[in-house]
């Protein structure tokens, strides 16, 4: 276990979620936008419509700046956020999928060098060569999705990996294909939303009308196909996790509403754009991007929630404790050792004075235990993300004359954690469990 980072009111995990969701916009724009560009550029050359090239220049600059400044940095930011939110989780993924990420990096090289070459050689090199650069970028960029979806799919369902430990058995699991098709369809919604925003700045009305209409049609197609493949994706998720998809509505009630509302609003927006392409202005176009962000946020949060109680399914719990053996990798579960010796004994970053729970350090030991076991998902403040005080009170323990009785009831509840499908079981000794209960009692003010 590494040092813990507490983010006031939030958790490090939610910082990761925010970074990852933000990254979806520039990354999906990158994978999809060049297909739209290629369509428009080919049209411009074939039908001799140079006015369309103004869009190519503006849209490419937007890809360059948005996808390869904010997008590249937020992509690196996901790794950094995962490092400080769940270091053992990202380490486990990297030690399995390092060659997958390294392969993706090769395509990242092609993307970055490709977009610079594409943007700076527009109108400078002959048309055939410029289109070739566009094709290389478009295919290369989509290939990054082919790879990263394998790793994302593994994070939802590991397929046969727990038995074989094989890279491709985890990569091409039962959720892979619907997941890839879902993202491939939805990426065109991102491309379309941004293309319409860029089109509002075009000076030529015929170009603006053409781009807006075509983008709207691509957007509608992406939404329809994406919805269908999302349904298939949900169906492909193994039963234990798909049960959690229903439960996610209980955990975060707004997710489903936001998902459906953004779908409906974007559909209406694209239909309107198709009918009245010149009526759209920058402000509604930006609002559409905000709606898009909301939709992506709810989809990504749901995907994250269905991983629970694991961060790496069938292997590592969300609190970074290895819960299952992986014999093919010669890895043993840690829970048995931790239950025997104690989490405060085996974790590296624990003050020496807290390694043993004893009279005089119970509250501090309890807080340390909570930091290690609970802080991945819960804050310990009165308010914030899944705040422990509120969650304990929600269990409606009855006030007792003796605090010890209340603490005993909380400890009894901790014993049942493993029965909840989204919670890891408690790992530690009885003394640590009681210390944790004492700490939770102290912050929750049951009375």
């Amino acid at each position: 276990m590494y040092p813990v980072w507490e983010v006031p009111g939030l958790t490090a995990g939610i910082v990761l979620a925010l970074m990852a969701t933000f990254h979806m916009l520039p990354s999906h724009l990158s994978t999809s936008a060049m297909w739209f560009n290629l369509y428009v550029e080919t049209k411009a050359y074939r039908e001799n419509r140079p006015e369309l090239l103004e869009f190519i220049r503006k849209y490419s600059l937007m890809i360059l700046v948005f996808s390869y400044v904010l997008g590249s940095l937020s992509g690196i930011g996901i790794w950094y956020a995962a490092t400080v939110a769940n270091p053992r989780g990202i380490s486990g993924l990297i030690h399995n999928y390092v060659w997958g990420w390294a392969t993706e990096w090769i395509f990242f090289l092609i993307e970055v060098i490709g977009i610079f070459t594409y943007y700076y050689t527009l109108g400078k090199v002959d048309r055939k060569t410029h289109l070739k650069i566009g094709w290389i970028f478009a295919i290369g960029s989509w290939t990054t999705m082919i790879i990263i979806v394998g790793i994302l799919a593994f994070m939802v369902s590991p397929g046969k990996w727990p038995a074989t430990g094989n890279f491709f058995d985890g990569f091409f699991n039962q959720t892979y294909w619907p997941h890839l098709l879902m993202r491939t369809s939805l990426m065109f919604v991102v491309a379309a939303t941004y293309a319409i925003a860029v089109a509002t700045k075009l000076t030529d009305d015929s170009a603006r009308s053409f781009i807006t209409r075509k983008a709207a049609q691509w957007g509608i197609g992406g939404l329809i196909l994406g919805s269908g493949f999302t349904f298939l994706f949900v169906k492909s998720v193994p039963s234990a996790a798909s049960g959690l998809i229903g439960m996610s509505a209980f955990l975060l009630p707004g997710l489903k509403t936001v998902m459906l509302a953004s779908l409906a609003l974007l559909l209406l927006y694209f239909v309107f754009a198709n009918i009245k392409p010149l009526a759209l202005r920058m402000v509604p176009a930006i609002l559409a991007i905000v709606v898009l962000f909301g939709g992506i946020w709810s989809i990504e949060r749901t995907r994250e929630l269905i991983r629970k109680p694991y961060v790496i399914p069938q292997y590592m719990y969300s609190n970074q404790i290895i819960g299952k053996d992986i014999p093919s990798k010669n890895v043993s579960a840690e829970t048995k050792t931790i239950n025997e010796k104690g989490i405060l004994k085996v974790a590296a970053f624990v003050p020496e004075g807290l390694r043993d729970v004893r009279e005089g350090n119970v509250l501090e030991s309890g807080r340390m235990t909570a930091l290690i076991l609970c802080s991945s998902c819960h804050t310990f403040n009165e308010n914030g993300l899944r705040p422990m005080p509120q969650m304990i009170r929600r269990l409606e323990f009855k006030p007792h004359a003796e605090a010890a009785t209340e603490i005993g009831e909380i400890a009894g509840f901790i014993d049942t954690l493993g029965d909840y499908p989204y919670m890891p079981p408690f790992a530690g000794t009885d003394a640590e469990k009681n210390a944790l209960a004492t700490y939770l009692h102290s912050i929750s003010r049951i009375r």
């Binding site: 990297i94 060659w99 990096w105 990242f108 397929g159 491709f168 892979y176």
Partner: protein, 404 residues
């Protein structure tokens, strides 16, 4: 807890999917490429602002080119930084994660700072392009200052990483722990300067390459290019000399027990650095002519120093009986083959893109690619499609085998 035991406990139990030495070689090579562009980025960022503020027309003109170059250099630095970031997590995971989590707020701050710095670099470049006045210098100045701050953060994280014996004392005071992640705990000036000063040497060489690259373009005046080349050569020589002094300072600051001055990698790196200094001295007479061999020599010196840096990290880790060569290997030949075959393919495609960019930039007007480049472009597209067919085929095979 004993530090050596702690590091072993923290090490990922999954092991690594191929031999550690291969990851180490990739780590060193990609780090050398990364730091090369970090140097270019910091140097061009500084000079673009400096030139913008000078009254000299030549400086103003150069400033425009460098502002544009900064955006490309930063992008390349980030792109090439991803690979060593990945490989360091594979080999030195206990060190990397502990150091980052001790200063987690700074780690996330780094991303925010870089986003702002890079956006401002673009604002500066696009502002200059659209003819805005001296006022936009503020974008460039703040951008440069933020890039430096990002460098300070990276330096501190990299230096904290080497001191596992201090980690717990940074994290815990008595029985309470600092979970705010708001402190940077270690800074070593000569080490930081040893990363920073080469930015100005390398940017000097960048200017020499600029003079060489544009020398045949009819829209570029010879006098201007000569001035750029000479300025670059003088700058590269001066800062390489300063760098060699800082190198000694850093060497003296290292723990004596390492006896690092006798390390063959350091000696090789130092010899390459000194050779570069002499080479630069000679190159000042005709910078454009010597630009390419000087560039190659400079990269070799950087590669030598990257090897020395890795050797030093092994010394620090060895203090606590940690060796990357003890890492458990769980061979995964399929994914290893996937990477290396993609790597080979990527070289062909990236070279094509660079060839188009290189050739088209060397002529003043429109550029029409010759038959070789046309074929190369077609082959690149076919290779990409072939890659997809092979991987999709493999995916279908695995899906059928496991689930149908």
């Amino acid at each position: 807890m004993d530090i050596g035991v702690m590091l072993k406990t923290l090490q990922d139990p999954m092991g690594v999917p191929f031999y550690p030495v291969v990851f180490q070689a990739l780590l060193v090579l990609t780090f050398a490429l990364h730091i090369l562009f970090v140097n270019f980025a910091i140097g061009t960022s500084f000079l673009s602002v400096y030139g913008h503020l000078k009254r000299d027309e030549r400086w103003k003109r150069l400033s425009g080119s460098l502002a544009r170059a900064t955006t490309v250099n930063v992008s390349m630095a980030m792109l090439l930084g991803v690979a060593p970031l990945l490989f360091v997590q594979v080999l030195y995971d206990p060190f990397w994660y502990a150091s980052n989590n001790l200063s987690a707020a700074w780690v996330m701050g780094f991303i925010g700072i870089m986003m702002l710095a890079y956006s401002l670099a673009y604002a500066f470049y696009l502002g200059k392009k659209s003819g805005k006045g001296t006022g936009i210098a503020a974008y460039g100045i703040v951008s440069f200052a933020l890039f430096l701050l990002a460098g300070v953060i990276m330096h501190a994280l990299g230096y904290q990483l080497l001191q596992p014996d201090k980690w717990l004392s940074w994290y815990a005071k008595g029985n309470s722990v600092d979970t705010s992640g708001t402190s940077l705990h270690a800074f070593q000036l000569p080490r930081f300067l040893h990363f920073l000063v080469p930015s100005f040497s390398m940017t000097g060489i960048f200017l020499m390459l600029y003079a060489w690259y544009f020398k045949n373009r009819e829209d570029m005046e010879k006098g201007y290019l000569d001035w750029v080349g000479k300025t670059g050569a003088e700058m590269a020589f001066l800062f390489t000399a300063v760098q060699s002094i800082i190198g000694f300072w850093w060497l003296l600051a290292l723990p004596g027990e390492f006896r690092f001055f006798a390390n063959p990698f350091l000696l090789a790196g130092a010899v390459l650095g000194v050779a570069l200094l002499f080479f630069l001295y000679a190159a000042r007479k005709d910078p454009a002519k010597f630009a390419v061999p000087v560039g190659v020599a400079a990269f070799l010196a950087i590669l030598g120093m990257a090897c020395a840096r890795e050797a030093l990290r092994m010394k620090y880790a060895g203090r606590f009986a940690y060796s990357i060569f003890d890492y458990k290997v769980n061979l995964d030949l399929g994914s290893t083959a996937l990477f290396f075959s993609t790597f080979a393919m990527g070289l062909v495609i990236v070279s094509y893109l660079l060839a188009v960019a290189f050739q088209s930039g060397r002529v003043a007007g429109p550029y029409v690619a010759g038959p070789l480049l046309q074929k190369w472009g077609r082959a690149s597209i076919v290779l990409l499609l072939l890659w997809i067919v092979v991987v999709a085929g493999l995916g279908i095979f695995v899906t059928v085998k496991n689930f149908l």
